[in-house]
Symmetry: D2
Subunit: 385 residues, 4 copies
């Protein structure tokens, strides 16, 4: 199987996200890293790209140069990852889609709901793949939860309970730390801090697993550290279009939690519990029976879970492999598109522009409800109402 | 130390609550069970009482007979436990208080906020002890959490997160089971089902540990099993009079949870996590340090925790001993009152009429807000506004 | 049901074991504490007994006085608990058995195997109940494990793995602490320290659960703190008379373990795992299926487990209730004997003189093998060879 | 940094180990996969190699052809991985070392102790790197344990307790399954089954973490499934050259365990506990303090742990990344050798020929002791006595 060509915008030297994407894209050997515009400082980006092994004429100084350069090539990149500052996602993603490239955009996909609707439209018009990086749904057992719900193991899903709590912004002294402060400043971060940063991952996972979309929500947003304008803790109640009730808590002041992304799903016929920090076990209780431990890699899991696993049962797999599953999905989707065949359904699970749009609408919904004493608001994007 | 005399109303043959109280009261040998009106059927109650060892003239046929009988005795009971159906708590408690008895009333203390205010007034007027059985605060490590907060280990408490979730009413077939159905029927259960039954324990614990009272709240109450009128799942956001933000989830459809009463407390200087199903460990992370496991029975705990412990570290203590601690508190409080001395502060921790009143106001607040799309309501009893 | 009369020898003021026995015996209200010789100082014992509520003529000055006093009474004690220093257990137990009393003796039952055989003989001759306090087998789920093995859920039991590890004697500075030092001094503690103190509980539990007795063993005994003569850590491999292989580790220098008594049982058809510090859950994997969590108090447990449970599922029960189950067993066994009827099989589970004897033989076997570089030795008492 | 050239022998189509090595070697982008002799069937190997991207003249038909082909190239491979059947490891490794290649050999390195001594000698003579794949020591927190011991956090290490237990060969029906049966057949598997397959990883980890080597050992080897000739369960007691006592249990019939590789280390000043199935947490209790949870990725870990981590705290890392750390170590060691500079000490941690030799001696020691009723034997290779 020949490799796909992959390029990256952003993720320059010293960034955390750059190595993560390169590891994820490279892990299965499906993508060759062949092009990049890695830094907003053109020379630095070119230099770093070459040190990472790019040939000199594909180590670009900026994304426009890369767009121009790649557009003309026969061996143009099959996928462009956009990992630049948030405010630039919209323009770059839009331009590459229009030029006929598949794109994986870091979250948030855009800064407004309107922009997000525009991207969804572009993806549909151009027929290009537009993925958005809600990478936590790449875990094998998250995919297995989705499969269990889809095949009816839980019956009707009554309630979903999601959390994403950590304590890494709990130190009041950090209120003045520039690396933290900007996140709570509307001028830099937009309408929401902790929900937009973390809570949205939990909400996306709730949608992914239940196969339902959020319709309305009510939010209680608070700033536990008083000097913050935006929320560092939020509780969101919501309703989904399949009738499921949702509850979501997110916090950055929860000292004792490291990276507490968890999901519980309760249906007529059973309940599920999963936690990102112990991702290789899924706890399942069928109604009236005992709690069971489902192990990643055990026999008789769903095709979705099997495809997302790489090592045998009892060997932990972690976040980097979950993240790599998004790239693995994209490799299959891109190949299927090239070959004019249907994508393997077990790979057709990567988050896409519609998810980016719905997430954007949820962020704005939370902000609006939070300001209005928790009034219920319609959290659907206008185009999906 | 001479024993105290103890009597019980309700808790007849076959009840669950009767043996639990007798175990709790008898465990430390502080109380002798000497009188009772155990059954609404007079003969059955007298017979059962004698089989339990009561002398015949103190195995009463009903509570009025017991009130009359005990009032005239020199060796009258030092404490009366009221474990009758909810609707009778108010009258019995009021009458015994007025006659000069100390009372431990099962929850809920009354059926209305007004009645509860009346009980608070009576307790104050008569000087009698009126305790209410929120027994989960008897756990040694719950008391240690309270002590840690009180002595400032957490600094200002920013957020408290409480849960009480189980899945024992998740079977839709049970909607017709009389043992379950009445709980969700307003005619029999009042204004609230799951919150009044379970959630209120979590709310009381949040108040107990933080030393703060609820002021306002917003509730999202749902009936996941549609045939139910009252809620089987609720999310409650609240604010406390010391500035703490609260979040509380309760559910009876959470398949996979057995008896999921948990509390997390997040302050400026650290975070705590405790779960009723593993009650002998408390997880504590001081800001910027590592998660520590505090063991019940370890050296250097608070006096409150030490007093509430009976066996050495590493030996689990469970619910019956926590419950016995409420009786142990009461024994000390009653003796202190008799002897005209101050009660040991480490024992002065039993829930009392004021807690019963605040809990009643919270239940009505949740019901009111739940009906009004989560509108924020004042959850303080009128007399404490 | 009339109460049984209970008396105690030893367990004087300030001891740990005295309150534990009084709590255990009193918890279910089956026993009245009516007689005692609580202290080797006669006056102190008499005084303390009366303060605990004994009438003056049954607050004895020593055990011989008690033996004489009780022997002549119509309302003599139905059970005597012997909780005196180890070296006195043999004589006191023997004398009370001979005088027709039922006895519960603290472990070790005697100081030598020969004495233990003598006690077994006496119990058989006199027909009295002679129990020995290996109290950890009182846990409901330990009894459930035994029931599962007995009814064949595991098939043939291949291997049992037991541990009892703690770190409370790990501080080298404690080598000079008199409260610790004597335990490792052969002159005071006999032939074994950590195995005799803790390991033997794990070995007894292995026998209790498998229903098999130890035949041969090989031990590796070490003194991690070099100034100790007796072992503070030991590994024992053994074989059982039903063909099961055993492995047992015990340690007092395992810093990080509190009271690590655990049992794993592996059979042809499944495996079990239980830990004393989380005693309300039992982990069970049937061959080829998933790990299941069995909860104390859940429906459909064995009669043995149900009888040993007091509160509903999800409410932890701890060590004091496990201990009380030994007394509860004894109450039933004594009543059955008095009434000339068979004992409830679900109560006929208390450890008895034979267990005390086998344990003594195992202790001597471990000591002998430990001195002989782990040579395999016959660990059966001579009378059972 | 230019990439290193890497080649592989064995790991053909359908093997598990092949993809694992390619993932591990490729993960950080340090190695380019440029040569291979992947299958004992020459055509299949050449074909598969080319499908994996090898150029045709480096997709060799067998290892001799590869040895000849690579020896003459300027761009010869910097590292050869040997992942062929066990019996061929010795010859291939020896020949490549003699030809001046660095080698990573799968375990076991050889079939006899004598062969292993020969490899150690060759590695020393040739100056080539000869690594052996005990990959579990690549976990960041295993490396942190080693660093803690080395810097004295535990004081003198008194005891190390290791386990590697699983239940995947517990089904008696599998005794006839060819995929399982050969492992217990001396003709195919050699002198030991479960210890050689799994236990040896635990023993190597014990040596790695303590920095000590095994001197003597005593083993109790049993075949719980009677038709097996070799052991499916073993308990090994051992002594180490720094005075530490060791205890190791390994089993393949432990139903309920998935991949139970765990290590506990007890020293004068504290105790550690780590488990492969939850590899991102390390439990540490300093003497007299509380149990702490050390998180992979937290601040202030050792340089060894930091170098072995790729993602931020709270994101699980699993086995594939641990394995990749062996390759990451080798990349640094090879570069250092090329550049004539010292290797980064935090990378100089890969297992090498001496470890392969000591492991081989331990396997033979266990087999010998197991046949001799657990007699203590010298488990040091002759050349290290």
């Amino acid at each position: 199987m020949s490799k796909l060509n992959w390029g990256m915008i952003g993720g320059g030297e010293g960034s955390q996200i750059g190595p993560a994407h390169r590891l994820g894209a490279g892990l299965d050997g499906a993508f060759d890293f062949v092009a990049g515009a890695l830094d907003h400082r053109a020379d630095a980006g070119r230099d770093y790209g070459q040190r990472l092994g790019l040939v000199s004429d594909r180590a670009y100084g900026d994304w426009r140069e890369m767009l121009a350069g790649e557009t003309g090539r026969a061996d143009r990149v099959d996928l462009v990852t956009v990992a630049t500052p948030n405010a630039t996602h919209f323009e770059i993603t839009a331009e590459f889609l229009k030029a006929g490239f598949n794109v994986l955009c870091e979250k948030p996909m855009t800064m407004t709901v309107g922009e997000a609707e525009h991207i969804v439209g572009l993806a549909r018009e151009t027929g290009q793949i537009c993925a958005v990086n809600y990478g936590y749904t790449g875990y094998a057992l998250v995919r297995h939860m989705r499969a269990m719900v889809a095949r009816g193991d839980l019956g009707k899903v009554r309630l979903v309970k999601a959390e994403f709590a950590h304590g890494h912004h709990a130190d009041a002294a950090d209120a003045d730390n520039p690396r933290v402060r900007w996140r709570y400043d509307p001028a830099q971060a937009g309408v929401s801090a902790q929900f937009a940063d973390c809570g949205i991952h939990a909400l996306h996972m709730a949608s992914f697993v239940t196969g339902q979309n959020v319709t309305t929500l009510s939010a209680d947003c608070v700033s536990c550290i008083e000097s913050r304008t935006l929320e560092d803790d939020a509780m969101v109640n919501f309703r989904m279009d399949g009738g499921t009730v949702g509850r979501l808590w997110t916090s950055s002041i929860a000292i004792g939690r490291q990276h507490g992304l968890t999901l519980q799903v309760f249906g007529e016929k059973g309940g599920l519990r999963w936690a990102q920090e112990q991702p290789n076990q899924l706890f399942w209780m069928p109604l009236g029976q005992r709690l069971q431990t489902i192990e990643r890699g055990e026999g008789n899991l769903s095709p979705e879970a099997d495809r997302a696993s790489r090592v045998t049962v009892g060997h932990a797999e972690g976040m980097p492999l979950a993240f790599a599953n998004i790239y693995s999905d994209l490799a299959e989707a891109i190949r299927a598109k090239k070959e004019g065949r249907p994508c393997d359904p077990a790979a057709d699970l990567f988050p896409r522009a519609e998810d980016g749009l719905r997430s954007m609408a949820a962020v704005f919904g939370v902000a609006e409800s939070g300001k209005a004493d928790g009034q219920w608001v319609d959290a659907r994007p206008p185009m999906f109402r």
